[in-house]
């Protein structure tokens, strides 16, 4: 999933992850992500990975870096499968 999301973001935002913009970079601060891109990204994640991002995740600044998003989605999915 990480690889797929990475590719999606690189294509969508027209940049490459490298030594300056890493998987842990805040993509807002790095100037990579914009408002339309952010809303599209959240929509993509919710649809593609079948998770719903709650207010806590959205306000907690986890959805601004690749590693934050991957971590959140994986733990949300494992919670779902445990519960299921």
């Amino acid at each position: 999933m990480e690889q797929e999301l990475k590719q999606y973001m690189e294509e969508q935002f027209m940049f490459e992850f490298d030594s300056e913009i890493t998987e842990d970079s805040d993509l807002f601060k790095a100037g990579v992500i914009d408002s339309f891109g952010y809303i599209t990204l959240i929509g993509h994640i919710e649809q593609e990975y079948d998770v719903k991002l709650g207010e806590e995740a959205l306000l907690g600044n986890v959805m601004v870096s690749l590693s934050g998003i991957v971590g959140f989605v994986e733990s949300a999915r494992s919670r779902t499968s445990e519960n299921g």
Binding site: F28, D34, S35, F36, Y38, T40, I42, G43
Partner: protein, 656 residues
């Protein structure tokens, strides 16, 4: 309306002055096709092309004071010229004409630069004091009329439009990369910027005095947004709004030619149409744009207004291909990089208006800045209160921000917005809190440049140096930024007067009357619902305008951007990625330009967001600016169409 051009302390031989100034004026003849005149002295030369609107027969320029000391080349209109004329007459000044130009000239003779504070108008002028040898260049308080100043070989060149410099021997244009970065990131030139090296715009509300080899810039009008004490009741506020707008419209109808109105179907221009129609004996003529694409079209509101007011309405239908076709010529008149195509339909509309025999139009610019009509003011208010609100309240307010934007709405939309807005609740760009979200999107366009540096440095410096700025509220800072950047740098200029004057049409903006702005700052956010933009304006005119116009809410005027180019003209892919052109321009990053252009042409339009559209229009306009200005293809070789009236004070001429 008029255009002015000239030079001071030039190393050129005085013998060449008449030809050079005439050639400079020929470049901007569209601004004033009715008459031309120039003033020549050993120290300088300046001239005017004139569009005759007030005192058609005797308002000719250049105009000299009776004692021959002061000489004026004037572009603009002084709306309170009758009142100032009476005052000057009482002081003993005798007038030879009925023109506002003579009032400006004698006001300077009477009060010096202190006269500027008394002026209610849209103007830019050059005034030469032949006794002291000083040249004064002045510009109105909101930046309605343009004035550019260039340094070249120890001399100064000045003109209403930069294209006049193309006619000055040896002057060459070259892009200024840090200024381009600032424009790409913040959407518009900052008050002093031109986008080109060695050319400055005289900022609004300032004047420049050049004395021999020294130049000093002074501000005569600050932007005061603090406002006075508000009226006690909402009823009183409504009455005041009506009274000030009545007065602002009255003085702007002073004209010896017919005045029309740009009526988009929005609230502001509908108010103007109502006010002018009420004052007119013959049916008022109103003008608007209609678009093929329903997303941008407001014809239902326009028709409702026209039938309600009984005006003679004329709409120009603009297609994608019209926008693409007129784009290069419109950029030639805009002269600066542009972030969206909405100025192009305005270029076509002015052409249409002029073909209908109209030279003066009133338009609604300034209402959104003065009365806080833009969403960014609501955003700013919400973001500045964000940390004091709980999540439910945040969600509820988010839902009320942009009722017309689909992706903001519905439960999912608002929830996603929550995460977005959270990113902008701290001030990361000092002084620019209100605009951080906009500027975040602007960062993308700076990737067009090889080296964007810090694209916000110039704007941060501007606000850091502005006295009183730090004490403004968050919303007032947003308002200050709108007045000083987007309003003057794009709406009044690129989309407003440059497009109108391209066809010899003068636009006037009653909402930018100083008294209207002063009143607005006193009543804003004091009455009604803070999320109902322009609440008092709606209240003041709800009983005289169609309900659908009052209730519609803010509908931003837009036009199709990159999609129009993709659909209509695939040549643009080659034009934007031409290796020789990119190499010549030098400051653009060819690798990113190619990748980005491919993305635009190979993607479905719905995948292209705002930042990509803006970047596309910035790129396309920069390529055309290179063609017109750096390569010099905007240079017009034909002489002026009208004979030149020459006042020659050169020593050779006097002895001859």
């Amino acid at each position: 309306m008029c255009g002015i051009a000239g030079f001071y302390a030039s190393p050129l031989p005085a013998l060449k002055y008449p030809d050079v100034v005439q050639d400079m004026l020929a470049q901007i003849e569209h601004r004033g096709p009715d008459e031309a005149g120039c003033f020549l002295d050993d120290r300088m030369a300046m001239g005017t092309v004139r569009l005759s609107i007030i005192d058609l027969s005797t308002g000719s320029q250049p105009m000299g004071s009776p004692d021959g000391r002061y000489w004026l080349c004037y572009n603009g209109e002084l709306y309170n010229y009758r009142e100032l004329r009476s005052e000057l007459t009482r002081l003993g000044f005798a007038f030879r004409t009925r023109s506002d130009t003579e009032v400006v000239l004698l006001a300077w003779a009477a009060w010096g630069a202190a006269c500027l504070k008394r002026f209610n108008g849209a103007f830019a002028f050059s005034l030469f004091d032949s006794v002291t040898g000083e040249l004064h260049l002045a510009r109105d308080r909101y930046g309605k009329r343009p004035l550019f100043v260039a340094r070249h070989e120890g001399g100064w060149l000045f003109a209403s439009e930069m294209k006049a410099f193309l006619a000055y021997p040896g002057f060459r244009f070259s892009f200024d990369a840090p200024q381009l970065a600032s424009m790409f990131a913040t959407w518009t030139p900052l008050p002093g910027q031109s986008g080109f090296r060695d050319i400055e715009q005289l900022p609004m509300g300032e004047y420049l005095t050049i004395d021999g080899t020294r130049a000093e810039r002074r501000r005569w009008a600050a932007l005061d947004l603090v406002g006075g004490a508000p009226p006690a009741t909402e009823e009183e506020a409504v009455e005041l709004v009506r009274a000030e707008l009545d007065a602002a419209v009255d003085v702007r109808l002073r004209s010896d030619v017919e005045v029309g109105v740009y009526a988009s179907g929005g609230l502001d221009s509908s108010i103007l149409a109502h006010l002018v129609a009420r004052r007119s004996d013959v049916p008022l003529r109103t003008f608007s744009l209609q678009f093929e694409d329903a997303e941008f079209d407001e014809s239902a509101e326009q028709n409702a207004l026209a039938s309600h007011l009984g005006v003679d309405h004329s709409a120009l239908r603009v297609s994608d291909s019209d926008v693409v076709e007129a784009f290069p010529e419109a950029v030639r008149h805009a002269e600066v990089p542009v972030f969206r195509t909405a100025f192009v339909p305005m270029y076509l509309l002015a052409e249409h208006v002029r073909s209908q025999g109209i030279k003066v139009v009133l338009s609604g610019e300034g209402a959104d800045e003065a009365f806080l009509g833009y969403g960014i003011f609501k955003d700013t208010r919400l973001l500045s209160e964000w940390n004091d609100l709980d999540d439910d309240e945040r969600m509820s307010r988010l839902g009320r921000l942009y009722p017309y934007l689909g992706h903001f709405n519905g439960e999912d939309g608002q929830r996603r917005m929550l995460g977005l807005y959270q990113q902008f609740t701290e001030e990361r760009l000092p002084g620019l809190f209100s605009h951080q979200m906009r500027f975040q999107n602007g960062r993308f366009a700076t990737r067009l440049l090889k080296d964007a540096g810090d694209p916000f440095a110039a704007l941060q410096e501007l606000v850091a140096e502005e006295s009183g700025y730090a004490e403004l509220s968050a919303v007032q800072k947003a308002q200050w930024l709108e007045f000083r950047t987007l309003l003057s740098g794009y709406l009044l200029s690129t989309q407003g007067e440059r497009m109108a004057l391209a066809h010899g049409v003068e636009n006037r903006c009653p909402f930018l009357d100083p008294a209207v702005v002063r009143l607005a700052t006193s009543v804003n956010q004091r009455f009604g619902d803070e999320y109902d933009e322009k609440y008092l304006l709606k209240r003041a005119y709800a009983d005289v305008l169609p309900a659908r116009i009052i209730e519609k809410g803010k509908f931003p005027y837009r036009a199709p951007d990159s999609a129009a180019f993709v659909r209509s003209n695939s040549d643009y892919r080659d034009l934007l990625t031409d290796a020789d052109t990119l190499d010549e321009i030098g400051v653009l990053d060819p690798r990113f330009v190619r990748r980005f252009t491919d993305r635009i042409f190979d993607s479905r339009p719905e995948r292209i967001g705002t930042k990509e559209n803006q970047t596309f229009v910035f790129l396309a306009s920069t390529i055309w600016l290179h063609h017109w200005f750096v390569r010099g293809h905007a240079r017009r070789r034909d002489p002026l169409d009208v004979p030149m009236h020459v006042v020659d004070r050169r020593s050779d001429a006097l002895s001859a």
